[in-house]
Amino acid sequence: MRILVLAKPVPDTYGQRTLSLETGLADRDADVAVLDEISERALEVALAHAGDHDGTEVVVLAMAPQSLQASLRKALAMGAHDAVQVVDDALVGADAVLTAEVLAAAAQRTGFDLIVAGNASTDGSGGVVPAMIAERLGIACATSLSSASIADGEVRGERASDGATLTVCAALPAVISITEALPDPRMPNFKGIMAAKKKEIETLRLGDLGVEALPDDVARSIMVEASERPPREAGTIITDTGDAGTQLARFLVANRLA
């Protein structure tokens, strides 16, 4: 079985994240990029299955600028067998629909039995790319899984839906997305890091995939304006000396918040 893991490099949330006020796009030069934590968990699901099932191949796929290749190296160091990166200048500012079209085409070209993604990225956090890939490829889709078991010919799990948990089952080939309720990802070990250095990362361009960034008949979503939120003003900080609860109550009442 071949499992394709969608691995997105994102600006590190522990650092400052910047949007260009001119283009409204993520400023990929200004920020430190990391492999998204939820993508690492998706990879962990695939690697854990591969560890228990001989003959399972794990391939990571990313649509990302060349400069962010380190994220794919990390995925290889964690244990992925192969990596595919879609790189094209025409993809700068790609919206979620175009991203899904590109990843779907690359997935089809690479071949897979199962696609594993995160439920939502930590930058765009649209939470829709996996479902759109299923739509484009005409395959079943089970997203927002807080548990997942992969078997021959099907995948089953608990879907953390709106106000309910659903048990769902999809026949393969399928797309799943997982939530952060799934186990923490493994750390790359020394052997993995050394092996990853030697691996070739396959690079695909839009032309290889037959996808057009701006076809006449497909509308795209564009940013027309961006502004920074003004910083918050400093407030009152008190140290409790026995009556802080009472003082806080007074503050809430005075501000009609009680």
Partner: protein, 329 residues
């Protein structure tokens, strides 16, 4: 020429596990009223029974479609496609819920429409319909538009206020049953549905005017009850940090932050939460922020309007007591 108010805004309404309209319905229809004439779409068994409620919330027309309840997402996408073909909308609006956003996104991809995700407001400008987004946890406010055609917009739950009750046209409305051609797209099967343990009569986290959240500092699930007690004294919803969720103090649906719920209430009270950047991402746009933490260096103090350096287990009981005597005086 038709005026903007004549334009149809197609609104996909979510249903809760009990089959009723989800709480997001009022905000979705209120957003649509501001753009044009809202036409509601309700999918699934007994959808007709919900038409009156949708009309009371502002829908001028109600379209319904049955749909295989056991097939995930696909029947709703097919219904939305049929509805759009029927009414030629100027925009499609759905909730940015797990179910709503996927239906909207698949519809957008299927029909080549532009997709605006997780909008906190929708408006018209000279160019047409635009969506506003709070990007990177509210650090930025971004406006998006479609290059052409009717945009498909998913609206953050709780971001648009419901109109005061009794405002809608309401009353008798005859639902129009759509003729849906199934796409035959493969779908996952739903084998069982377990409704979430209903959190009593507390307000819903996403739309609450007040939120009280607890973090790792609460120490245990038993002691987390203190958060609930203060929430009840204030009439607030209960939130949590990821550390509190990971430790099993509360279910994941209460998580506020980057990978949890984004809230923008009048009042946000943080108890025993340090203020990691991923937590701030979900609450820093609250109007008033109150922080109680033993560590005066906790980053959350930097954005607090009122901060108490102190132990939640002494400060909060005193606060609740003071609020009670305030209420009775």
């Amino acid at each position: 020429m038709s005026t903007p108010q004549d334009q149809t805004i197609l609104v996909l309404l979510d249903r809760g596990p009990d089959g009723q309209l989800a709480a997001s319905a009022a905000g979705l229809l209120a957003a649509a009223v501001a753009l044009g004439t809202p036409v509601a779409l309700i999918v699934g068994e007994d959808a007709d029974a919900l038409a009156e409620r949708a009309a009371a919330l502002g829908a001028a027309r109600v379209l319904t479609a049955p749909g295989d309840q056991d097939a995930l997402t696909v029947p709703a996408v097919d219904a939305l496609q049929a509805a759009a073909g029927h009414v030629t909308p100027a925009a499609v609006i759905a909730a940015h819920s797990v179910e709503g956003r996927e239906v909207a996104a698949r519809f957008a991809l299927r029909t080549g429409a532009a997709l605006a995700l997780d909008a906190v407001a929708v408006e018209r400008d000279e160019e047409g319909i635009v969506a506003r987004h709070a990007a990177y946890g509210g650090d930025y406010l971004v406006t998006s538009a479609a290059t052409f055609g009717a945009p498909v917009i998913t609206l953050r739950e709780g971001s648009v206020d419901a109109p005061p009750p009794g405002d809608g046209a309401g009353g008798d409305i005859a639902p129009e049953v759509l003729d849906v051609t199934p796409s035959e797209a493969p779908a996952a099967r739903v084998e069982s549905v377990e409704p979430a343990r209903e959190a009593s009569d507390r307000p819903d986290l996403r739309s609450a005017a007040k939120v009280v959240s607890g973090g790792r500092g609460l120490g245990s699930a038993e002691q987390f009850a203190l958060v609930e007690e203060l929430a009840d004294a204030l009439g607030a919803a209960v939130g949590a940090s990821r550390a509190a969720v990971d430790a099993g103090f509360v279910p994941a649906s209460h998580q506020v932050g980057q990978t949890g719920v984004s809230v923008s209430p009048q009042l946000y009270v943080a108890l025993g939460i340090s203020g990691a950047i991923q937590h701030l991402a979900g609450m820093q746009t609250a109007s008033t922020i109150v922080v109680i933490n033993t560590d005066d260096k906790a980053p959350l103090f930097e954005i607090a309007d009122f901060g108490v350096v102190g132990d939640v287990f002494t400060v909060v009981p005193q606060l609740i007591e003071a609020l009670r005597s305030e209420g009775s005086s």
